[in-house]
Structures are given as structure tokens and as C-alpha cells.
């Protein structure tokens, strides 16, 4: 907000003399507008990416018809959804039915208030940022239960109940994993947390206290997957069991809102994970932080978040789905003990070695490079095999 304020007064000199409420309104509204549009239109990209990625993983092409390489497909779909009739089946509770998607969307948009896109590029730097994120992102649960209940449909009800159980359970390991980071940073403010990871990849919290923090990251990421109802934790809308789960009865615009919320939630989880563990807007190496005067913080955060979204999609198109009791098993008997142990151990370590283990500086880069190497080698081998195969077939 201060950033916008500075920008505005810098751009329009006369504005400095304006009444303060105008400045406050402009300084709040403009970032809100930008964020909202960016976030609200993001799902169009994510849906397209998801369809393409799934298609390639399954040896298909995916959308190819609308626009070059099907680029306009999701836009067409969105337009179609907006113009479609929103059907209210007989027996629905109209008020709840209407309010539910709004609440879900609101819940998924609110965390963006505190996501830091740069050292000063942040809507509000709440000093309880982490707490705020985990609080408002569970608002969606209320909406999901309302949707399931209002639909007057047994499948929707099942989906709603499942999602409530799931999100409530997974909040705990996710918050526990967050606590490790909070203890290390000594602050709940996301800005402070990011500041603690400055100075290149080896300083990211992901590689602190190796190998403890990678486990914390995996715990948080798994719990995050569950919170945004992605496979293998997509039981609230388990397609083959519950038809479409809580949004079985929704159509048109309201369905689009659920869709929007789901993908926005994905982005929230990914960006929070990048802020907490992957150095937020910090580049892997300080020299990449800016090109001349242009700060690249937003780019790095976006890149990290999108990479995590890609991993989510990758997982989704790889894994089967868990059952309800197994889901609870994973939450309460696997992730929760792990995160408890992490909180205790990391808490003790923070007191003893506040700067991390001595070898922490030397693990970050090798691990990253090895992982990337694996991916690139796999890619090259797949491509060369595919080319050879094509030649064989043509012969």
C-alpha cells in the first residue's frame, strides 16, 4: 500500500495534496483491482495448462480447435459457462445455494491480501500474515458445506461432509509445518519470513536444517494438496464415486465460481508454499534479482508458484485417489506425528543453532541441480525415444 502510495504521488505530483481518504482509497483499490484481475483470470491459464499437461501425459493432444493450439479454449469455456442457464433444481435452498459459491470464492481470494510480490509490492503486510492465510483459506469449507447441504442431493451432501472432514483435518498438519518456518523467522509476517531467506538458494528455508525442512515442506505441500481438493485427495468431488461431489447440482456461472475457487486455491497454496519455503520473491541467486532497475521479485514468485502448480497437476494425473478413512489416516497418523516431531525438533534446533546446521550452505545447490538433471535427462531420453519410434513406424 505504501508502495502504491509512493508510486501514485510520484506519478501525479498534484495528488500529494489531496485529502488523505482519497489516497487511502486509491492506494487500496488499485492494488486490489490489479490483484483481483490477475488472480481471477489466472484460472484461465491454469485450466488450459492442466488440460494440456494431462493430455501430453496421456499421449493426447488436448484442446486444439479453438484458437492456435487451443489457446482460446478456456476462454470459450468460460464464456459458455457465464452464459449458460444457472439451474436451480427443485428442492434446493435457494439462498444458501446462491451464497455458497460466493463464500468459496471469497475464501480463496482473501489470502492474496498478504502475499508479498516484492519487498514493497504487497497489499498489506499484516504482522499476523501466516495466521491470516490459514484462517481465511478455511473459510471455503463453510461454503462447501453450504453448497452440499443446499443442493438437496445426497451425493452433494456426501461431498460436503467429506470436504469438511478433510479440510479440518489437514489444517492441523499444515499449520504445524508452518510453525517451523515461523519459529525460524521469528515472525508471523510474510514479509519478514521472506526477508529471512535472502541471499540465494542455499538460504531458503527449504534447505535449512537439512533434512528436516524438506520434510516440513513435503508435509505442508501434501496438506495443501488436500486443502485444495486435488488428487490424490480429491474425495469431496471424487468423480467416479460422487459424480461431482458438492457441486453436482451447480451449473453455469455458479459452477464456474467453484471452478475459479479451486484453481485460485491452488495458486494460493503454491504461492504461500513458495513464500514460506522457496524464498518467496528472492531469486535463486542474488544476481538474478533484478534486471537493471526492474525488480524481478514478482517474476520469481510467479515462477515458483507455477512450478508448484505444475507439480500439483503432475501428481493429479499420476496418482489414484485415497479413500475417506485412508485420507484421515494420512492426516492424523502420518502427517500429524511428523509435523509434531518437526515442531519440537526444529524448535529446539532454532534455540541451539539459529543459523541452521553448518552443512546447510552446501546442500541447496547440489540437490536442486541433481533434481533438475534427472528431469532434463528424462526429458531428453523420452524425446529421443519418441523420435526413434516415429522413424521406426514410418519405415
Amino acid at each position: 500500500m505504501e508502495f502504491t502510495y509512493g508510486l501514485l504521488t510520484g506519478l501525479i505530483p498534484g495528488l500529494a495534496g489531496a485529502p488523505s481518504w482519497v489516497l487511502v482509497a486509491l492506494g487500496g483499490l488499485i492494488p486490489a483491482f490489479i490483484t483481483f484481475n490477475f488472480v481471477g483470470l489466472g484460472p484461465i491459464i491454469y485450466v488450459y495448462a492442466e488440460r494440456k499437461i494431462s493430455a501430453f501425459m496421456q499421449d493426447r493432444l488436448g484442446p486444439m480447435r479453438v484458437g492456435p493450439y487451443g489457446l482460446l479454449q478456456t476462454i470459450a469455456d468460460a464464456i459458455k459457462l457465464l452464459f449458460k442457464e444457472a439451474i436451480f433444481p427443485a428442492g434446493v435452498d435457494k439462498l444458501l445455494f446462491l451464497v455458497a459459491p460466493i463464500i468459496v470464492v471469497t475464501g480463496s481470494f482473501l489470502p492474496f491480501v498478504v502475499i508479498p510480490w516484492g519487498a514493497r509490492l504487497q497489499a498489506v503486510d499484516l504482522n499476523v500474515g501466516v495466521f491470516y492465510v490459514s484462517a481465511v483459506s478455511s473459510l471455503a469449507t463453510v461454503g462447501l458445506i453450504m453448497a452440499g447441504w443446499a443442493s438437496d442431493n445426497k451425493y452433494a451432501l456426501f461431498g460436503a461432509m467429506r470436504s469438511a472432514a478433510q479440510i479440518v483435518s489437514y489444517e492441523i498438519p499444515s499449520v504445524m509445518a508452518l510453525l517451523t518456518v515461523v519459529m525460524m523467522a521469528g515472525s508471523l509476517s510474510l514479509q519478514d519470513i521472506v526477508r529471512g531467506q535472502a541471499g540465494g538458494l542455499q538460504n531458503w528455508y527449504l534447505f535449512r536444517y537439512f533434512p528436516l525442512m524438506p520434510i516440513a515442506f513435503l508435509t505442508f505441500f501434501t496438506a495443501g494438496l488436500a486443502e485444495c481438493n486435488r488428487t490424490p485427495f480429491d474425495i469431496p468431488e471424487a468423480e467416479s464415486e460422487l459424480v461431482a461431489g458438492f457441486h453436482t447440482e451447480y451449473s453455469g456461472f455458479f459452477f464456474a465460481m467453484f471452478f475459479l475457487a479451486e484453481y485460485t486455491e491452488m495458486f494460493v497454496i503454491s504461492s504461500v508454499a513458495s513464500v514460506l519455503f522457496l524464498g518467496g520473491f528472492h531469486a535463486p541467486h542474488p544476481s538474478l534479482q533484478a534486471i537493471g532497475a526492474l525488480g524481478l521479485g514478482w517474476f520469481w514468485l510467479l515462477l515458483k508458484a507455477w512450478f508448484l502448480i505444475f507439480v500439483m497437476m503432475w501428481l493429479r494425473w499420476t496418482l489414484p485417489r485415497l479413500r475417506v478413512d485412508q485420507l484421515m489416516h494420512v492426516a492424523w497418523k502420518v502427517l500429524l506425528p511428523i509435523s509434531f516431531v518437526l515442531v519440537v525438533v526444529v524448535g529446539g534446533l532454532v534455540l541451539k543453532w539459529p543459523a541452521g546446521f553448518p552443512w546447510d550452505r552446501w546442500v541447496g545447490w547440489p540437490i536442486t541441480l541433481v533434481l533438475m538433471g534427472f528431469l532434463i535427462v528424462g526429458m531428453i531420453r523420452a524425446i529421443s525415444w519418441s523420435r526413434r519410434r516415429t522413424e521406426e513406424l514410418l519405415a
Binding site: Q58, D59, E239, E241, T318, L319, P320, L322, V324
Partner: protein, 390 residues
Amino acid sequence: MASEHRAADYAWDVGEIDTDEMILNMGPQHPATHGVLRIELRTDGEVVKAARPHIGYLHRCFEKHAENVDYPGVIPYTDRMDYVASMGNSLGYALAVEKLMGIEVSPYVQIIRVIVAELQRIASHCVAVGTYGMDIGAFTPFLHLLRDREKILDLFEWTCGARLLYNYNWVGGVSHDLPEGFPRACRDFLREFDAITFPELMELLIGNKIFVKRTANIGVCPVPLAVSFDLTGPNLRGSGVPRDLRKDAPYCGYQNYDFAVCLGKGDYGPTGSCFDRNLVRAREMAESSKILHQAVEALEKTEKTDVHEKVPKRVKPAAGEIYFRTEAPRGQLGYYIVADGTGVNPYRVKVKSPCFTAMSVFHILARGMMIADIIALIGSLDIVLGEIDR
């Protein structure tokens, strides 16, 4: 000795329903019921207290039709019963009528029949295992397997001109000879299947811990129950009973091929679970591939004969009746054919379809499951509603 599983014990009584219980109607329009199956579930939360399947939504009067067309004319109808494995259906019918008329086809035709039947078995199991993965939530293996199934269908289209409903196995022969270059194309396909698709399926789906956890402990069918309810094929072998008609009562010269009967071993839980049934199917694909390698080799060595050589001008068996069963991909497919010796139409054709009997045990296995397991159970029984309802 009365069976320990009395059907009456599983009767359905809505009157005794508690206020805590709920009746959930699954199907006939449901993504995972493999067709138009409708199941009424009495659930207590996620736990299913009782299930009652309702079938008949795809009833196309096969038996009545069969009485009104001549013997060769029944074959297109048999194709449409189990539309995922048409070759197996028509093979059973053709063999039954041949036995009724005392026709013995040449070894060349027998090898052709083995080849198409085993290709069809791979194709059918591709669908079965793939859709099973989809029921559990993994979508990708399904499309990988369908990709390979398409290759088999290409082979079939090349052979007889149709991709799904072939009308290929005739009484006394097959409709077309295999085209030139078929052995090479078949080997090409098998090489790719053995080297890539099958190992990838094992890695991606069947070896996956989530998949194992989802399927290994549910839907356990003990052997007495399986035998009493006439589970056959992979469903029976999943319970650990080594019964395969290709070994026990060989037809079409299956005794000449070397292959193993895959059994459920209960690697991750009790024997006879959904996982075992599914694993048996997956392994059978590999066994079929083994048979195919041998059959293609035998095909090249065998003297070519006219495939229409033994096709009778007029199929008119003498009065008599026969019950003939073959090992279709989904289990024992039995044809009970009564010929009255006067007309060219069969007097009565009754089909014992493996899916029908597999479905009849469903309500017993489904007790006490969770809703997600119901889907896993349906998938592991590998039903095709076209065959249940006929």
C-alpha cells in the same frame, strides 16, 4: 447341505431402516457403474449397510432375437452382448454350433481363432484394468491402455473390416483370412506392449501404494462363495482357484500353447481381494501375449487353408441340445443351444454370461464397505452391462 450364504439373509427391507441410514441410489447414470447398472445402497454415513443391484436397463432381448434369426444371423447379436470382447462371444457361439453339427475346422482356422481371441483378451483386459484405475481415480493409465487397445482394434479392422463388432467367427470358419503381413504387425504390437505398456502399467498403477491400499483389503471373495455363485475367469482365479478352461477343457487347440494360469496370491492382503482380481487380469495380458507369440509362429508354419472351407451352405443342425462354454475374457461364457431340427432358427439360446453371475454375488461382497469401495468392487468384478442384461 445348504449353502452358508443364503440369499434370504441379505434381503432388503426398507421398513427396518433407521433414522440414521440413508438410501443412496447409484446409477443408472453414474460415471463408475460401467454402463447402466443401478445400485440401491443403504448407507450409514460412508458405510454401506446393504446393497441391491438392479439390472436390465440394457436388456436387448438377445435370447428372443436369437430364436427369430437363423444360426449365422445370431453371431452379430452375440457380438453385441459383451461389446468390449466381441470376438470371445462369437467364438463361443460358433464353437457351440459347430459341436452341435459335428464340424471340425482346420488347424489353420483354429490358430486364427486363437490369435483373435487372445488379442481380444488383451484388448478387453486393457479396458478392464484401465477403467479400474479410473474408478480408483488414476486417469492416465486408462488412456495409455486404451491407446494400445486401439492398436489391437486396428489389427482387427485390417483383418475383418470392423473395429468393435466383428462378426468374425463364423460357424465352420472365420469370415476373412488374416491379411498379408499380419504376423509382422502383430509382433510389432506385442513387442511394444511387452516392452513399454505392460511395465508402465505395473509401475504407474498396480505398483502404486495408494492403489494397493485402496484395493488390497476390500471385496474379499472366499473360494466357497466364489464357487457357489459361479464366479469364473479372472474373478475366480483371483480367489486362488486355478481353473481356466483353456487348460481344463481345451478348445481351438489351446493345449498346444504354453502359458501359465495366473492366480491371486494375496500379496498385500487376503487372497481374493479386488487387488488380486485386477492383478490376475493384468498378468493375463502378459500370458496372452505369450500365447500370441507362439500362435503367430504356428500360423506361419501351418499350411494355409480356405477359411470358408467348412462353412456350411445352410446351417441346420439336427435336433439336439448342447451346453458349451469357453473362456471369454470375463470368465466362462456358456451357450445353451437347443435345436429342434426343423427350422433354420435356433429353438432356444440361453447365454450364461460371466458378468451376470459375478454381479449376483455383488450384494454379499458389498456389505460393510465404504461407498468408495463399492466403486472399486464393481470395477474389480469387471462387469459389462451389455452382457449382464443381454
